[in-house]
Subunit: 209 residues, 2 copies
Amino acid sequence: MQSKIDSSDQPARSFIETARRAQIIDQAVATIAELGFAQASLARIAKRAGISAGVISYYFAGKDDLIAEVAAHVFDAGEAWVRPKVMRCTSATEALRTFLIASVDYIATSPSNVLAMMNITHAGPKPDGAPRFDPNVTLGRSEGLSRVLEWGQKTGEFRAFAVPVMVTTVIQAINGVTPALARDPRLDLAAYATELADLFDRATRKDLP
Amino acid sequence: MQSKIDSSDQPARSFIETARRAQIIDQAVATIAELGFAQASLARIAKRAGISAGVISYYFAGKDDLIAEVAAHVFDAGEAWVRPKVMRCTSATEALRTFLIASVDYIATSPSNVLAMMNITHAGPKPDGAPRFDPNVTLGRSEGLSRVLEWGQKTGEFRAFAVPVMVTTVIQAINGVTPALARDPRLDLAAYATELADLFDRATRKDLP
DNA sequence: TCAATTTTTGATTGCATGATCAAATTTTAG
DNA sequence: CTAAAATTTGATCATGCAATCAAAAATTGA
């Protein structure tokens, strides 16, 4: 009867609690992906998950809290997909290329397609002016990309440029896959990824082939 | 008493009708810019415009219709800001640079900051699968950019690349100003714009300085 | 086994929204 | 001036929503 939501600093979650939260987050992702963000009500998510409406409120402090965890989950999954591929690279040039191609690949094959827009959708100010949703959820998680760019500058592969601007631009370019796909569902994503890789190769490298 | 909304193929709008529609659109822009998209209800927009709630429904078929017109208005204004500056350029290289700098400038100084995200926010599928909002509103209006890029390829200033990918990437890069500003409100936009110009200079030109 | 605890249910609450409409007001035209 | 038309009002309607909560059910542990 007592809700858990605001108590735990140390989560110490029970097995069932962890499972339920994961189930709810998964179904929230699926619902958003299928119906779009605006139509993804708690009731619909609960129905899809095959559970009662109140359960979500039992495990999450509110819808904002759920959405925040959904976003974190999606972006973590993306990072888990991209990171090992980038880590294997032996040059910054190759790493940047890999980052771009793997990211487009991930967006194309995961339900995150719709979710990529969440950080923008929710970036708008609340009435009180405080941001409703931390826009760093996407960009703050791109430390890996920052490190690749700095690496390339250190080794002299890359020219001098402002890393934050380049980070933002790369992330935005990747997110651009979503509207591009919306415009033309038959889009050749592999070709698109290659184009992006070439583009940023040009934009970053000091000595061009 | 009879509503106008779905009748006119040829608008043939009265003076007062034109003025009211413009007023409503302006106040909708201001409301969205101030409170964010989610909080911009018809009632709030009407209140801000100092008119009764029903008037909006009298002139617009529905909220979606209003939003569509708001978007068109904002993007038209952006085009009007950027276009003449680009037209004055004597090379594609200069034109692309000007396009980027003027666009960042426009986003920075207009309420469109928040509105730039609308095409994404509303790009999600409706329940019936039909797009609620044409994603081409932004990108379909970037014929000017397409023409600049094709021009540069024709004159040999630019290397060979897929124009649609480059268009999407440039637009996304410009839209990236919004989250970048949200992250750091003290961002030096002029420097940001210059970085972008350099970045795409590198990405597009055949012969680099 | 059985009492305490956790989890789930599903009805309910209160609220904000978009839309509607008859009546009131203003404008237009003859 | 006056009647018709256009415009505006403001109350009202139906809807969908997040959140709440008492009660039921399931689980746990002694």
